[in-house]
Symmetry: C2
Subunit: 485 residues, 2 copies
């Protein structure tokens, strides 16, 4: 050993913790870890200092070597020590680490002019203490964390070998069988071979768009529509063209005109509880869209993520284009982020068997497989019959808050179209530029979803999307009252 | 009620199960479900027949209505009944469903001529009863399912609200803090803001390639190298060019020559335990690669998925280019599919803070977020110090089987380069076209990984990749003996 190494060697008395207690709640390992951590923090043990060997430490403190190994390992994992192969443990040079905690980010400083990417980023941060009428999800306390926790526990008791290896690239088979049943209830016939699971509908859209669209090709979307896909399609070099959305579906004359002009590859549409207007497609329009798609030979991508929040055709008509077409010209996308848990990242594509194979290969090239965990949790919830009851409860709860919220919003100055209220959103007119309103709101901890986000033109708009489940909140109402009164 | 509906109504005596038992282990719900299932299977209850109402059933059998609701719900979820809103429950028309079970697919019928996509598909199927010397993963019984199960249980006890909402698009913060420590051990300084989690390294490669390469651009890979990325890059319209891989890294003269010729955007390389040869980069070559990258201004993507299987520089030298360059020109990719569990789908990108933000935005556009579940499980394993012990065990186990396996393989006629044995693969020369060998092997339930897969040229090769952990199997050895003897 050189002199330098020797001089940096820590004397036992400094390195070792105070007397260890065999009583009380704290394990020996915990006591050693805590005590060494404190000594490093207090600079009693310095960067680069060599720790006593495991044998030395164990003998001095009359603890087993296993206890010391475990304590040292934890200190390595926490960044206090480092292990040098064949040489022992050393106090490591530490870079500052933010206290480990929740997964919560502060809102980024508001930039000088409104930046859509910045808004979208904030959209997907978590705002536990914030007011989020602009959110696209139901509040956590509406959902059922216990259902998910039960699923996790059930999987922890299953054969773990399934998790150690890659899953099936097309998605877990029992889960796809359950999806077959779910689709059959919507009068869409699809065998498990026609289904590919995805990491949420977002991945489904990405895979389909990458399959169909070359740079320069046109993709139709509704205007307004879900904003994230505009960016996704734009990165493919696709031209994104909006079709004006009316209360019963797209403006058919405009669709026919633009289809002749642009020869689009895809038309992405929410037939049921359209985001952001919560309106649904009429049967007549569903039929007309299909005819135009046949005439101009484009594929319809039916994003049905709000499916299970639909209140039934007695309240609001709803026709899925896939029910008419049976997955010939229609690629149907579904998911569980809105009704169960966004973080499970489980969605699916239903299409022809041949296209399912091609999209599954494409999924393999971009994420290999999706994790079975979310799929198995949802399989359990579906197959044990919990899902239907759960979504029935969500719908009743939405119905029970919607009327009151809409009245409150009208009272504070918003104009709403509430001829057929359903779903979780209302598309409200403020009479002001909602980009400006959104900036002001963010400074007060309120997240809004301005109309500009929802249009492929990204032009300022007086509209905004309001989540009726996250709005009847005195701070939000007062803000609108002040700004719009 | 019309006559037709009336005639299809099921009489109570047929629909209802035999006397229910309040004793014994089976719950009332289970008894009702089982009995109605049996009656439907036996055609005692016919397609379209209406079930007794919940009230009727509950009264007849003196069970609570909740019991009946739960039983009917389960039968709906299992596809035996369907519920028609406002009308009641009916026996549904059932399409044949494969018995729910494992996630295991049969091997597809061998096509007439070897098809690389077909081979890759089979590569990612599970072959529980098969011999898989061509597999890219360690066998399940080498890995630690209990570690993963413990993680699942721990998460089921945590605050479920985190799972109900979207996660942080850049990845869970505590997990990224652990990755900071892991990278610091490799002498790569990266704050959590420089890290983006991905769905395995596959998604990392896809995101980086999409960010840097436009159609027509060139991406360099090693030849041989991991096959999946060739397809992934090809779908982007990129030109994939292979750099010959020598035992201590790429052929530097050829790299310089081809860089001048093609002006590549990216060079993707395994520095440590290269797939498929298990060789590692020398310090000198790491430096030379960086110089060439600077000269021709391309980015290096260092895929370090085999990192934790490296036996230490005493056994085999290993230099990471990112340790020299500190994430300026190098984008570093890591993951846990090889050492913990492929199905968790957890990988990560480490890069500059600005690039991390851009790649995180791109990730948002293609899968929104990745699930926190896998990240939290691995966070727990890393932070509690289990990971280091686990990978130490894996390395010892590899060391303990490697010698024997290599000797057996040489005895049955394979030529191996074993000057510096390490990692899980050996790149073996059979002296035969391994495409032909692979077809024969598959007919006997043996999965091989022929050399053609690993070259961007996809030309037939006499080489193949052998997983030393999955080969010392009498069926496999006999096959080689017969074919090569």
């Amino acid at each position: 050993m050189t002199n330098t190494a020797n001089s940096r060697k820590t004397s036992l008395s400094v390195a070792t913790p105070q007397a260890l207690s065999r009583e009380g709640g704290e394990s020996l390992v915990d006591q050693i870890v805590r005590s060494i951590e404190a000594r490093i923090d207090d600079k009693l043990l310095r960067n680069g200092a060599r720790m006593p060997s495991i044998r030395q430490f164990a003998e001095t403190h009359r603890v087993s070597r296993f206890t010391v190994v475990e304590a040292y390992d934890r200190l390595v994992a926490k960044g206090f020590l480092e292990s040098r192969r064949g040489s022992g443990f050393y106090v490591r040079e530490r870079s500052p680490i933010i206290a480990a905690g929740g997964n919560v980010l502060p809102v980024e400083a508001v930039p000088k002019s409104l930046d859509v990417v910045w808004l979208v980023r904030n959209m997907f941060r978590q705002h536990p203490t914030q007011h989020t009428p602009g959110s696209g999800l139901l509040p956590s306390d509406w959902l059922d964390g216990e259902l998910i926790a039960n699923g996790l526990r059930a999987i922890s008791r299953q054969n773990q070998n399934l998790l150690l290896q890659y899953g099936n690239p097309q998605g877990s088979i029992p889960f796809r069988q359950q999806l077959q049943l779910k689709l059959a209830e919507l009068e869409i016939a699809a065998t498990p071979d026609q289904i590919v699971t995805t990491s949420g509908i977002t991945q489904g859209l990405d895979l389909v768009a990458r399959h169909f669209a070359q740079p320069g090709d046109t993709i139709f979307v509704d205007d307004p529509a879900w904003f994230l896909m505009f960016g996704s399609f734009a990165t493919l070099g696709a031209k994104v063209v909006g079709i004006p959305r009316l209360p019963d579906g797209p403006d058919i004359a405009r669709l026919a005109e633009l289809a002749a002009l642009h020869k689009p590859k895809l038309y992405v549409i929410n037939s049921v509880l359209h985001n952001p207007t919560s309106t649904s497609l009429s049967a007549a329009k569903a039929f007309q869209i299909l005819k135009i798609a046949e005439q101009h030979d484009f594929t319809i991508v039916e994003d049905d993520v709000y499916c299970d929040l639909h209140p039934g055709s007695a309240v609001q008509p709803a026709t899925r284009i896939a029910s008419l077409d049976q997955l010939n010209r229609v690629i149907y996308l579904g998911g569980f982020s809105k009704t169960l848990a966004a973080n499970l990242r489980v969605g699916f594509i239903a299409t022809s068997e041949d296209m399912a194979k091609q999209l599954s290969d494409r999924k393999m090239l971009s994420t290999l497989t999706t994790s079975d965990i979310g799929e198995r949790i949802i399989y359990k919830i579906l197959s044990e019959g919990h899902y239907r009851k759960h979504v029935d409860r969500l719908r009743s709860k939405l119905d029970s808050v919607r009327d009151k919220t809409l009245k409150q919003l009208e009272r504070v100055g918003l104009k709403l179209d509430i001829t057929s209220p359903a779903g979780m959103f209302v598309w409200a007119d403020t009479g002001r530029d909602t980009n400006v309103l959104t900036e002001k709101a963010l400074q007060q901890g309120i997240l809004l979803a301005p109309g500009s986000l929802f249009s492929p033109s990204q032009l300022p708009s007086t509209r905004m999307r309001i989540n009726v489940a996250a709005t009847s909140d005195i701070a939000v109402l007062r803000f609108f009252e002040r700004e719009l009164g």
